[in-house]
Symmetry: D2
Subunit: 162 residues, 4 copies
């Protein structure tokens, strides 16, 4: 299988545009972070997620590159959902005692403007309500110019963790 | 740059688990589809999106692999948003006359069950309202066993296309 | 207190427009239904709610009169929420075994068109997901011409009933 | 018709519980405000809405009485939607130049706790995004103890006013 992968990689690089090469490099850089356990999932590694976490706030940032773009060359609305859901999930779980985890039950996002090209986009979330069985968080996404791109609200359900 | 990419790829393959190798293969297969213009974005290529489209229905499917999993080893809620938003956007744009496009203004998703392991997950969406300036679509995501994973509603705003 | 109420009622009737008189009559008709226990709340009585309920479907209808209008003389968006939430709550509770009730955790409504004047407006809801701890319902509101006015999704949380 | 209304009112008062009498009094007090044009709609009059409005903030309050209760004797979730949608609509319209109005396209509410008995409940909303064609507002509802009852997000579409 490995020989086949090298041939495939060779073919891809041979045909690669400069944009292709940048995406390849970006993706492999992320993949190495997954292999070194710096990242926990292929998804977060591929997106190069960086996080800041405090007791009542979480920020998750990713670079705004063609890797996440839709056909309009702006970040795909679903990727903004990945960003918000990740930040909310991190903060929700962080707020729970040992032995409990949380799962998303509802996520609602309003998209208000396209992100400016380049830089990073940042999801910033806070706790709006922390109940015994449900947690509600709100957040927003800003581009590298600090402009508001989207706002969102997430509901999480508390479950015993395995 | 290319020599550096080969070294990096070599290092990744040397350290790769079987799961890593499967993800590498899957990702490069998708990348080739982007290079051959079978896929229009790196995102849809990486996710191996397949679509079925009629006048009032769109289905988008992707394989359920670790490439899209969260730390619970199930599809990330944000990826389900990517799937729904993509299917809704395709159908919304398809419903418009030449010279018009649509952008998502709101996406709301209810997550009701984890997807069964393996197979594909499928977003199926239909038009609920098609106005002159706004379009509303509803949809659901099912796993390969046909079980409901999530439902969603999207609002789109109609704009002149460039 | 009763004498004061009669004086007040006298003053209101003396100054009443034909629309005022119709509203007064409508409201008192509803109030009598609350007094005779045909209606369980002042709110449902004032709105003259009528319901149709089966195992997996609930319809709640109310007359479309100035009693529920906003300043644009169409049904207030919040009243459409009352209608949907009521129909969803009835169906959610009906689906539960004795000893359990449900409370709304999230309600999301898309408003797609103003209701035609007159007649009744009808909320029709169905179960999308019935879990052990959460229930998700979807529904729509139509006017007396059968045109779609709004669609909505509600999440309910199951609790032991008192 | 007026004679008939008096007979009906007499019958209602004869059978009225103390709670009934309080509701009758409350409702007629509101009705008089509609007749004197202090209130613009039967709905806002019946609910005894009071508002505070600045350039970027609106608060709407109503008394928490059985008039708005569901069968659990707490404010009906739909009435909280009336409150939020009203406050959001007032602020959205206030933010627009002469010749423009706004209509709600989406309202999403998360219910997080029941309101404490008595007092008033207060919806407080602010502008999150003000575009040329769309406005997004967020808000919360608190009870008279200052506890959070619900949070909500509304999307409005800007239209020429008549």
């Amino acid at each position: 299988m490995k020989a086949q992968l090298f041939t495939q990689f060779q073919n891809i690089v041979d045909r690669a545009s400069n944009e292709d090469l940048a995406i390849l490099s970006q993706w492999m850089n992320g993949f190495e972070k997954k292999q070194s356990n710096e990242m926990t999932t292929y998804l977060s590694a591929g997106l190069h997620m960086e996080r800041t976490l405090t007791a009542d706030y979480c920020r998750v940032s990713i670079p705004n590159t063609p890797y996440i773009h839709n056909t309009l060359n702006i970040p795909h609305g679903g990727i903004l959902a990945v960003l918000l859901d990740t930040a909310m999930g991190i903060l929700a779980n962080h707020s729970l005692p040992v032995g409990f985890a949380s799962v998303t039950t509802n996520l609602s996002i309003n998209y208000v403007a396209p992100a400016a090209a380049g830089g990073h986009i940042h999801a910033q979330v806070t706790l709006s309500h922390k109940g015994r069985q449900t947690i509600v968080l709100t957040g927003e996404i800003k581009d590298h110019l600090g402009r508001l791109i989207a706002i969102g609200t997430g509901s999480f359900f508390v479950i015993p963790s395995k």
